[in-house]
Symmetry: D2
Subunit: 415 residues, 4 copies
């Protein structure tokens, strides 16, 4: 108990004393100094030290491990306010995994930042079996980031007029939107109406950035043009039909970010030898679990554990971990292929980038470089590798499930 | 380009040479040595070095930052196979945040591991406003982890018989389940049927562990008893009605893990001064965006960005980041309260623990200690603080949205 | 054009004249006489005539066919206000269909009120094939009607107190609820919370009535007890978690009304001869269409056309046609069974009755009698027959789809 | 018990005797005569008589009321195989209702075929209040019928090639599709992929027919062109992404058939006087029930009872009653408008027609004529009136709910 127990206490006398005596930690605890003002006053290095010291003093704990990091406070400041250090997540390697994409061709190690026992081992097994089947064939079917503001109109007639105005003024809208970005391109706008609320879903090509921030800024500029041209009022820059970081049918159906399919075909012999199950058994488990079970639960994830591989690769490579939510949507497919097995994963909403966001930090850069995916021109290659990794993870888990090994595998790995 | 380009190449001559010459890195690259066998042969420290060296040689990259970690390879081995180092995620502090829960009472700093610009700053602002409103009132409404195997019966009559048998043999089933765990308690079993597939959703109390692994092992033991007693065949130990790491209505409706509500009441004056919007404006945005927009998109997340705060706190404290998917389900509520604002977040599926999983690593332990939440007896306290943090994050973002500041806030923070 | 063109016109002078001259039709058109007051003033027969006359005069049309009905105005008044006659829907017979239920055992003709070309013929074909497979095995897995009021509490603590109070006062609540009905029994109450709104889902056994009205009245009485005992305010007697006449996951997952499964096992030879497709082809179509296609569309109906057979049988037998919405939820299952085909339909929310509602009208009674399902003690038998009919309809359509005959079948039947 | 108890019995001796003695009823019961062959052999009138006689004899019941109908057997044959008579559903009138649409302008009586007590009265009250508010403003936002076949490709590369081929060959595809119909126009094709299954959602303008059958035939012709051009195999002419007669997010989000919004603005005084509640109370109930309650239940219907009015009007006018399922999707909106109330219904998937299907029967024609909606050129007018009727129904029920009158209203009407 007693975390932060002194925070906010001490009151005015201590605060004055702190200032007088020049103890900035007391100043923070008394509220006289704001944590987010410290970098400006003391520089980012001392700022981070002071915040740690204040938190330590308030809570009676030590942040030694947190402080021990390769991340420089000045680097962190742009992404992470009130920086105090780092969370260190264990990193394991799976692979190499053979990928036959349009952008990724060759063999790749998969960096997985995870503490889920068996995940790396299981994915690794999946890689090996996919390789034996000739590698993962991967294709990107669509690539667009979306942002959907909500506008309020006077009535349905005004709403229809506003919708028409937007369709007839795509050029000035595009100009405003693209004026905020050097890489983003507006691909189109889809309208949706409920009562007198008009949602406009903007679709952007965002280069090699994941693009959510780019899309937000561009859409804000576009929204001002629309407000001015139509008299409709912007109620919310994000009206949740984007849909970002919330599972949504619109993304499962229409896609968001990169829509990717990865697949492999395995002979009956290979399935039996390596997965200790028949193709028919894997198909049966896939139908009962990933299709029927998910459907009966009202789920939007028709797969076993997309989210596990995604979370591990997202953290390793500086993606937005909250977008694992959107990535978890999608289907695992298992079908007879002659006597063999056709196995695929379909990820309609894989939102990743190789520039921007958290990609520029040191360990994240190394993990991207490991796959030849650091920097510009690499985001589609990266998306293909991630989807192939998800394929390996699904194949291994579905095999274990069909062979009745799930609990045992976890137990053996000692969790 | 060229990641892993040498992996698997070199073939037999190099492999033989590697063995002869005793170069284990070449042995790994040739496939003669398996990455996951290295710890056994060389110990975890050298095992990690060799894996790094092999990956570096295969891809022409360096893993210096990854190697520079406070995590000891022997510690990591149980959770993370093929360990090579760490992913370091910048950590910022928000708060202190006043929490008035049943288990958490006092002020707490929130550790947020994130690279999402503005997230810490925005959450911090939310904390400050929640504090001004008297703090976050938090309650846990339910607490149970689930696992739902799928059984195949001969026909619907056999299915009904199996269902009845389970109801009449809860004691031997419980005994088998609880025999696998020292902390878990079986709370009940809910049956669901589709055709001749019977899904049994097991509910467990799992102490201070998140409990998914505990539930899996216990359910496997129970499933063997059911198979033997009924002749129904276990098709999949997880039949996806659990539902783990996939967004699902069953979790939104019935809950999973901890079901938590956090709320605050703010005066009109406070809302106007600190959020630069009126209560009515915030209510309006909440309705159009979080209710109507989400509904029109077919979403299961009726909130703005639960997932952001959850992902940041989950990574900081060693939770399973893939379970942000389940955590992202839920509602933000904004209602008039006299002239003021009642504001709440409802998280039906907050799956967290303070022991087990990734909680035992160094930075994660420090972050838990910072909140007085490390170890046994703390998981409900922790869940309450997390929910309060989500409340702060929602309040700040909804305020920014209502005041028309979303894009600007991101822009100012330079992303 | 011009429908109702004179309605409301004529104004005061005509109204006065109408009264003076005693022309009640003019009185209706002028608004001096209310349509729903006519039965009281003139008796139901003349009331119906006057309403028809007024509508005819106002719109320049004739309602001759509508007036030509076996329904007596005095009988109709309780169910259908402002009665003017009947809609006549063509009725076809399918079957006989062999049913092996718990309650329905034997062969039954299915009355189908429909104008969907090919529906009766297709269902008839399905009946014949089901019969050849030994008949439909049917079981009812659950039987409860629900109503879920929404209560507003002061805050989450009050909400938890209210929830507890309800659990601890089930007896007085039950007494109040059951005091309103001679047949209904309260089976239980499931609580759900969002913010400070508490939804209480009441489950009732409703005898042989569909039971929605019974459940509403009972719940209203119970709600008054809860309001008084807890201080929570009843916001809406139906809070939509019932969920009535809206497709909802809660019904797909947990069931509502009668949850029924009907199944049949067919030999490979029979499938080939009668459906002109192999079991494997039917399984393949079922997976791609009813599971994958529905899932990708974000649907809650994992079947081909439950709604068609349900709508036709509901109209024929006086069920509430709007509840076809709930009935449309559910699964069609096709699985290999040795070389043959296991085929099933699972209807979690079949809301039907054999007393009350529209069942007592003349043609509806005859259709119920045709199946030996008129009156008390027959609702489960009826539900089993309906589910068996849905099975026949699905089997026939899935066969046609697999054999590539869908469009052709429709064309041949000349629509 | 014992319905159809003699069906199929009697066996060969009776059959032979029946034939010899010329008793066709015995021939039907013995299986020697098929019910659907009788019209060909004996003409539709005697065919209907014989079917009735056989069913009566088999079940020991009488079908007198069923036989007493205005529908001529020869007329029914095209829509309803094995015709035996009619189901008669009581018809009540609500209105007149003032509609200010693009196509419907004026006052209209609403024909409601229903046995739901209070429905006509409640809708009638709603009409009266909408009229007092100046009438229902209605607009159609989109109008297209869809059909979505599923194709199987060899692999994802073939799938992408097939998708591209379709985009590049829209003209021959259109030609094939439109060659099957005199009224239908192909508006576009939306592709969706899962694994190697490609769903193509065809959008059609279908004139004044609801258009499902037209769309099916046109799509079948188009599918043959695609199969031939690409080598992809048609797995199912309907792949359930259409989505017809199953509730689906794709329809809630993207629309199907006619997407219609109807709205009205009411002064505070009017709301209080006529609904006995304040605008704030109605808004509150709408939020808790239609938005939050529906969302928590995982529903796709964010309204109170669209399905009730739709089912009643669909049966009255010869629409496809199973499509009430799709019509039940959508939103009721209640917002403050100054001191008054903005109230709207949004129906994204209203699938109706004024020609074809069941519209041509006698009572259905009269009901359409009553609204000036019979025949060609009237389907949009009709859709606007239906939506206005749904608005009236929602307004009345939401008012009753807010005023605490729901159960009472039902009780007073004696159900």
């Amino acid at each position: 108990m007693g975390a932060a127990k002194r925070a906010g206490k001490g009151g005015a006398p201590r605060a004055r004393r702190a200032k007088r005596e020049g103890d900035p930690v007391e100043g923070i605890l008394s509220g006289d100094l704001k944590m987010h003002d410290l970098d400006g006053s003391f520089g980012p290095d001392i700022g981070a030290q002071l915040r740690r010291a204040a938190a330590e003093r308030a809570t009676g704990t030590r942040l030694r491990a947190v402080a021990s990091t390769v991340i420089r406070p000045d680097e962190a400041a742009k992404n992470t306010e009130n920086f105090v250090g780092a969370a260190q997540v264990p990193l394991g390697l799976a692979g190499p995994l053979r990928v036959q994409g349009e952008h990724a061709r060759g063999e790749f190690y998969l960096p997985l930042a995870t503490t889920e026992g068996a995940l790396v081992a299981s994915t690794n097994r999946g890689c090996s079996i996919v390789n034996a089947g000739g590698g993962a064939r991967v294709r990107i079917l669509a690539d667009a980031m979306t942002r959907a503001p909500a506008f309020v109109c006077r009535d349905v007639e005004h709403l229809m007029g506003t919708r028409r105005w937007v369709q007839e003024h795509l050029e000035p809208i595009r100009k405003a939107a693209e004026g905020t970005t050097s890489h983003g391109k507006l691909l189109g706008i889809s309208p949706y109406a409920v009562g007198r609320t008009l949602f406009l879903r903007f679709h952007y090509q965002t280069g090699d950035a994941m693009g959510m921030n780019m899309a937000t800024l561009a859409t804000e500029a576009a929204a001002r043009v629309i407000e001015k041209g139509t008299g409709a009022r912007l109620a919310a820059l994000s009206g949740n039909m984007c849909t970002d970081k919330k599972a949504a049918s619109i993304n499962l159906t229409e896609g968001r970010g990169k829509s990717v399919i990865a697949e492999v075909t395995l002979s009956e012999k290979l399935v039996k030898q390596r997965l200790h199950a028949t193709p028919a058994q894997i198909i049966d488990v896939n139908t009962r679990k990933n299709l029927v079970g998910s459907a009966k639960a009202g789920s939007l994830g028709y797969n076993a554990h997309f989210a596990n591989v995604l979370a591990a690769m997202f953290i390793a490579t500086g993606q937005d971990a909250a977008q694992v939510v959107d990535g978890s949507l999608g289907f695992t497919t298992a079908e007879a292929d002659g006597d063999g097995l056709y196995f695929a994963v379909s990820l309609p909403a894989l939102e990743v980038g190789t520039v921007g966001g958290g990609t520029r930090f040191a360990t994240q850069q190394e993990c991207l470089q490991l796959m030849g995916c650091a920097g510009a021109g690499k985001s589609r290659k990266f998306a293909e590798i991630v989807a192939a990794g998800v394929l390996a993870g699904e194949l291994s888990l579905m095999g274990a499930m069909a062979a009745g090994q799930l609990g045992k595998a976890h137990a053996r790995l000692g969790r």
